[in-house]
């Protein structure tokens, strides 16, 4: 009973760590997949924008036409990104015709492209998360939108709407956040980036190849996230430590007499300590396994409720990491009770009721 409770308590932070890492990874993989789905070769971002901020200083839309005229550029289109829900779910305003040509078209599950200025296209994740259907009116970004189509996920964003309407509603004067360029031949990507960055007016705009951009999307490039994961791991160690310490201390008290018996049979201090530590090891191991099982439960739950906002994946490579952290915490926690038990006077322990 005591052991089961300890295993449960140890399992919770393991689940937390795995969910957190799984969510960060899932979010990044989802973003990468959607970025690749755009079909662009080059991305230009606003001055002074951080990697994941969606609402950086905007780019004047005349820039789109200017870039479209540059050598090798076949197509240029600008988009407006806004956060639709928290930081993990964005909506994007697009120029439909230009974007379709760039990405090769959306795969519609139902409905189709924009017919009205207030039309919005949702991907299947977001549609299932909100249970929206074609023809529904939904509220997004403090306004009403009419769902014109549901598309297969993997192109740019979970939510897209006409860029004109979005610009009007946001009142941002026709500026865009990002400009995507498609070239006549992807092989020209690097020379073109070279060429563009040498144009004086563009010097301040970060220009990336899409390939470089997607590879920049990883946990370590999101400063707060890596720190947050470290904090949760620290909490995991402390909880594992505290739970095992309390649990084993109780066990040592409960079994004082048994420890006395073992000592009367000639068990050494190391033997007693070894028993306590191996029990702690199994508590840590059990907690890890339970935590992994619970992370599957959490993933299933998240997938059922919020597939678009929280794209969680199972991170197998973190199992040994979470496991060793937990077990180390558990062993450290068992050290004090174990040493106490090892130091028991056998005569007193034997007379303990």
């Amino acid at each position: 009973m005591r052991s089961l409770l300890s295993i449960l308590l140890i399992g919770v932070p393991v689940t937390l760590i795995l969910c957190l890492v799984g969510l960060s990874r899932g979010f990044i993989e989802d973003s990468q997949k959607r970025a690749r789905g755009i079909g662009a070769d080059i991305l230009m971002r606003p001055k002074t924008s951080s990697l994941l901020s969606l609402n950086g200083a905007p780019i004047p839309s005349q820039m789109i036409a200017f870039l479209a005229k540059q050598p090798h550029v076949k197509l240029a289109t600008g988009v407006v990104n806004v956060a639709a829900e928290g930081v993990t779910l964005g909506a994007t305003g697009i120029n439909y015709e230009e974007f379709i040509r760039m990405c090769g078209g959306f795969q519609f599950r139902s409905g189709g492209g924009f017919q009205r200025p207030d039309d919005v296209i949702l991907d299947d994740y977001y549609a299932s998360q909100t249970k929206a259907k074609v023809g529904d009116t939904i509220t997004l970004l403090n306004g009403k939108w009419h769902v014109s189509g549901i598309m297969e996920s993997g192109k740019l964003a979970h939510i897209v709407m006409p860029v004109k309407t979005l610009q009007e509603r946001l009142g941002n004067g026709g500026n865009v956040n990002q400009i995507y360029l498609k070239l006549d031949d992807p092989a020209n990507t690097n020379p073109t980036i070279q060429y563009l960055t040498n144009i004086p007016g563009l010097a301040d705009y970060p220009i990336y190849s899409m390939e470089a951009f997607t590879s920049l999307l990883n946990v370590n490039n999101i400063p707060a996230l890596a720190g947050f994961i470290a904090v949760v791991m620290g909490i995991g160690v402390v909880i594992g430590f505290a739970v095992v310490c309390l649990s084993m201390y109780m066990a040592v008290l409960q079994r004082t007499r048994e420890i006395g018996i073992l000592k009367s049979l000639g068990a050494s201090k190391g033997f007693i300590l070894g028993i306590i530590l191996s029990e702690a090891f199994f508590l840590g191991l059990g907690g890890t396994i339970l935590g992994i099982i619970m992370s599957y439960g959490a993933a299933a739950l998240i997938h059922a409720l919020k597939p678009a906002s929280l794209p969680m994946i199972i991170v197998y490579d973190w199992w040994p990491i979470a496991g060793s952290i937990t077990i180390v915490g558990a062993l450290l926690g068992a050290l004090y009770p174990g040493l106490t038990a090892a130091a028991h006077d056998p005569i007193e322990a034997l007379s303990y009721e």
Partner: protein
């Protein structure tokens, strides 16, 4: 120096310190026990009988005096050395049986073998001892499924499974009814007669003491007389 005495005790004193008060438990005990002897120890409560056993068995060091058990000088031993001598030199039997409650009788015996440094399975000859103890078909039960008499016989089996030089039994029949007491005492006598096991047994009961070859009387931390 070995003259056939497996225990030689000279002027043994043991003083416990409880808070700021010194409690003298043994005040100069002299005792010699020959190998293969069955000695009963009798005396009023608090006369130091258990303390004497704890010292002979290496559970606590003497305060002063000389204690030689099986040619090992206990007064000079460190803590780990006493731990090592408990593995094989002595076997304890207590009034409260003191079996590990979560293990079967068989495993209780196996744990003692394991701690004693042998492989957990007793050698075939041990079957004979188990038959003598009458617990052969009770070995797969946990202590709470055994009668007091059976538990105490399992405890005896555990105490002698590593072939200790001395078996120390502290009021082994103190928690048993007359019938079970008789069985346990007969078992001890058989072990002594048939296997030559040296036994020291503390008891309150003169009838139980009569099972031994001789009896010493303790009073106020000393040996009053030997009969």
């Amino acid at each position: 120096m070995s003259n056939g005495d497996i225990i030689q005790i000279r002027d043994l004193c043991k003083t416990y310190r409880v808070g700021k008060v010194d409690v003298p438990a043994l005040r100069g005990v002299d005792l010699d026990v020959r190998k293969g002897h069955f000695l009963s120890i009798i005396g009023p409560s608090g006369s130091g009988k258990s303390t004497l056993f704890h010292i002979i068995g290496g559970l606590t060091p003497p305060t002063s005096g000389k204690v030689v058990v099986d040619d090992k000088d206990l007064s000079a031993m460190t803590d780990p050395e006493r731990t090592r001598m408990r593995k094989r030199t002595v076997g304890f039997v207590f009034q409260k049986f003191n079996l590990l409650p979560n293990l079967t009788a068989r495993d209780n015996i196996a744990v003692a073998r394991y701690i004693g440094g042998s492989d957990a399975k007793p050698e075939p000859e041990f079957e004979e001892v188990l038959r003598l103890l009458g617990i052969k078909d009770r070995l797969d039960h946990k202590p709470n499924a055994l009668s007091g008499g059976e538990q105490q016989r399992v405890a005896i089996a555990r105490a002698i499974v590593n072939h200790p030089a001395i078996l120390l039994a502290d009021e082994p029949t103190g928690n048993l009814d007359t019938g079970n007491s008789k069985t346990v005492l007969e078992v001890l006598r058989d072990l002594n007669r048939r296997l030559g096991q040296t036994i020291l047994m503390i008891t309150h009961n003169p009838e139980a003491a009569a099972y031994g070859d001789s009896t010493v009387h303790m009073r106020d931390g000393r040996i009053a007389n030997r009969t």
